[in-house]
Symmetry: D2
Subunit: 334 residues, 4 copies
């Protein structure tokens, strides 16, 4: 039995609690929150838990093997560090930390202690992302050309972070997971409209050395909700529309082939247009799969693919985006 304590029972914490609780080899034994009402709410669902209002008390408890940190990002480092120091595996809400130095510190500490860090990039466990990974791995798309992601809506403004820190962790982690090429630099453009000094509309371009390009549009001021990603390759192209209920991933047997270039007016371009395929997407709950995998990693003492390193890579990109935004959208090396 792996005993888990959760810190933070706000928006996402209850989902973690529910999934840890239904995992057969896990004992959900403690929940910590500063807010009394939320703790009451937690206890009405899980009467058997031990309540904490001070996270350090909970973390120090000998009964606990795993700490789930589901708090605002600026608190992650301190809580996660304390947990690792106390010998606990950690399951941390994304993004891992507020900056790269903190992330590296946690990774080193975990390494030293032989503990596991899993960063909760839930999207990686959705049926759609797993299916895209499968498609790309199979080589069906050919050489990859570009990755274009749009995640916009009339969104909840975050208090302490800009729209990139809010939305891009999803897309950066997905892109890192799907695309094997290594990004070399990043530039970001953005603007804000409410005098808070935090961008509400932003664009990020991620550069690679091989001609591949990735681009991200993050926006809290769009009248319509769009969650769409295009991945184009030399053989096929795909679109992931996360808001589609039954056609989330579509694969287009389309392409372009430039045969020859004999002078300026003789370019021979061939367009190919074939069938479209819409694979059935498994709709198992992503968080459940992620937690099962987390438990498996703990048992097997195996690093998860969404470990501290993967989380750190996302933080590096977020930090670079901030730098580029502050420095006139200059290209920042990764």
């Amino acid at each position: 039995m792996i005993n888990v304590g959760i810190i933070g029972y706000g928006y996402w914490g209850p989902n973690d609690a529910r999934n840890f609780n239904t995992c057969e080899v896990v004992g959900l034994i403690a929940i910590c929150d500063l807010n009394e009402k939320r703790l009451n709410h937690a206890q009405s669902h899980y009467p058997f838990i031990k309540r904490y209002s001070d996270p350090k008390d909970m973390i120090s408890s000998k009964d606990i093997d795993v700490v789930a940190v589901v708090t605002p990002v600026f608190t992650h480092y301190e809580l996660a560090k304390f947990a690792l120091e106390n010998g606990k595996h950690i399951f941390v809400e994304k993004p891992l930390t507020s900056n790269v130095a903190q992330g590296e510190d946690l990774i080193n500490l975990a390494e030293k202690k032989g503990l596991i860090i899993m960063v909760d990039h839930t999207f990686l466990f959705t049926g759609a992302v797993r299916k895209m990974r499968e498609i790309i791995d199979s080589g069906e798309l050919g050489t990859l050309y570009f990755y274009d992601s749009v995640r916009v809506n009339l969104g909840l403004f975050q208090h302490d972070i800009n729209v990139i820190w809010d939305l891009a962790p999803h897309d950066f982690s997905i892109m890192n997971y799907l695309i094997d090429y290594e990004p070399t630099a990043l530039s970001a453009w953005g603007t804000e409209h409410f005098g808070r000094g935090l961008e509400d509309v932003a664009y990020v371009a991620v550069h690679f050395d091989n001609g591949f390009i990735a681009h991200f549009h993050c926006n809290w001021l769009s009248p319509v909700k769009i969650r769409k990603t295009l991945i184009s390759g030399s053989k096929k192209m795909l679109i992931w529309d996360d808001l589609s209920s039954d056609e989330k991933v579509k694969i287009y047997d389309k392409g372009v082939k430039i045969d020859n270039t004999e002078g300026i007016h003789k370019l021979l371009v061939n367009y190919r247009s074939g069938d479209v395929h819409v694979p059935h997407i498994d709709n198992a709950e992503a968080l459940k799969l992620e937690i099962d995998y987390f438990v498996e990693c703990i048992k097997k003492k195996q690093k998860p693919f969404n470990d501290g390193e993967a989380g750190l890579k996302v933080v590096k990109m977020l930090e670079a985006a901030d730098k580029s935004l502050r420095d006139d959208c200059k290209k920042v090396k990764l």
Copy 2:
């Protein structure tokens, strides 16, 4: 009667010919093309025209008042200049010229000679763009926040220009027409995949001093065709979907209002969600309206709004985009 001669009877020339021909106060009297077959084709439709294979011969003809230049962009300057020198008004395919210096030269020449330059930014005469202009002018959207344009498809590769020069002239001219703020700088990212040295996927951000941002996605490698523009303001937001047959422009009575910021966890954000309005769009042929307007400007000796200056502004942005692409996506002043 205003007598018109057209140079170039390839893809777009026949449209110009048809619309000049149906305009009652215009006489379409000459067509010039290097290709014999195309001239035959032109003559089968307009048996009365005079055929030319050398544009300079046609331009020198005393019978002609107006020259329409419907040739590849690298030839615009020489042909337009010769026409102006010969005292002809010109109707030039977009973009006006291959670089800013050429454009300035033409404008000065036209000024000196009292001649009219109209750049054929046809989109400005579509019902959708005219309706959006009307909406923005009315103040219905409030203070404008951002302009986001996506124009992507599995497109015809151009031989001599990149995807920005091919697609962005549409969107730059539309944005300049709709938005009264003055752009101050521009950055562009792009990549190419066929060893031609010409970008096939590109992103352009246009910067303004007042927090407004404009962004353009131009792409020849998308499996699906998208022509979508979002314009967001403090009061309302609109979406222009040029591929929608009957809901091209949608106005959303939606917005966000940040009332107060008392500390990091006390931000009061109010979202407003109201009706959507889909105005009926006039579907008169844009090119017909444009040519009628051109003739009217000639008669009234009045500068059109899509004159040389407007065309030059687009060329400046294209040139800046090239510069930014060559210089590591650096911000280039406009």
Copy 3:
């Protein structure tokens, strides 16, 4: 305080329970189900309720003022009758009864006893249906022409009823609510494919004396889910797409006007095409509004608009549909 007991805690019962429980002037005091597990489940949410496995025991209880009958339709009559005989107001799942005679019996009984019957036609309390009622009442659509409803999907096969009894109660009740004309006859066509003697695909036409027509497509074998209703009038037309998240009701300022008919080739038809309007739809929970209204009707001793009579009208149509199906799709008088 109005004390409520619920019979049936299967698919829909928990929704009733939740909404009765949150209504301030209602006491949810008893739940009855044949299934022990479901009763346990009910009690875990409402520890204070009294459990029953025999509905007659619960109905006889003096503490109860209202009985909610949320059981399969073939049991409605007996349970509802017993409840009325015991002086309880009833809230009955749709359709009211299995046949017209039963429905009339209940109405007479309620009348005699001064009790209220509300049939749970939840859809009538949705924002979309309330908005359409408002639009039609305002005269905005002009004289109504037709009502066309499609409700199809790969649906849950019901054990004891055909697809009309399963899906059409929604649409019949909505049509009756929105359209003031009185239907005079009905015909139905259908077929079944699994040897059960219960139609899985069916069409129903409802006839009126004034040229208005209503038509319903009910289908458990469609690969895609469609829930769409067209209502056309002489001035405007509307579409209700219940699956649209943010454009459920669209009003088209479109129409046709036949000016004159001078001989066979001289018909002057004018088409009018104007703006489209998408009103904001209130998304308050329909069942909550319905239960609040039920309680208000009890207090004011006022007949609800979705009373026994309204429920009976739907049963009459269902019965007529069965008759038509059995009698070679013949028109059956209503």
Copy 4:
């Protein structure tokens, strides 16, 4: 060389002219129309044609091998009969004739004379219909369950026929072409709103002896244009959306399987939900393919599949629909 004369140069005639003219083994040599202007228009495109204003003059001409009858339906019989009597093959606009007796007469005459009748059911030659035929022939859908067709819009009112005669010939001919089962009866419902005695909204159900059902919604009063057909089978289901530009036909690997029925509450229904496949559709011009096929049939003295019999079958259904409409929507035997 097969010499063709066309009667009727209104809405559809020019399409026939263009396609006959581009067919290499055909000589378009004559066009007949009552309207002088239309004849002028025809001659401007085909200066070599012989003009006729009296169809009988043209039909009697010895130079002509084939007569295309592209006139209003009430004139088909007389013109087609005269053509057959004069030894000409005929290409007749759909529907073949105004009633069954006329159609039978033409078929007998053609048979006697060894002449070919082709009824211009153009839709049968579209890529989408050909692809659906291929899919159904392959057995991919399994046993067919139902055919549901919706063809509605704010349509052009016809002067002399109702909405079924206007729109259903398309769908009846397509259904007959795709579905091998033999229809046994038909019922129709409709209504009209402009005092013309011609239905503008109508529904038709076609009955079969094996549980298959086909249903057609024809409507001139819908605010939106819909052209959608569902074909459902035991293995797969398909949707044909003729207005979709790039996903006209979609095949759903979905189904339902009822394993067993042990008592009323024990029905075991299994739903299967798999991939969706969108085959690439050939977009060759249907009318061109049809005319090529017509010419081939003439040469090979072979009956086309869209011959007089196929055309007559559609007329039988139209006539039955009229009968059902006049007789209180009663089932009419076919």
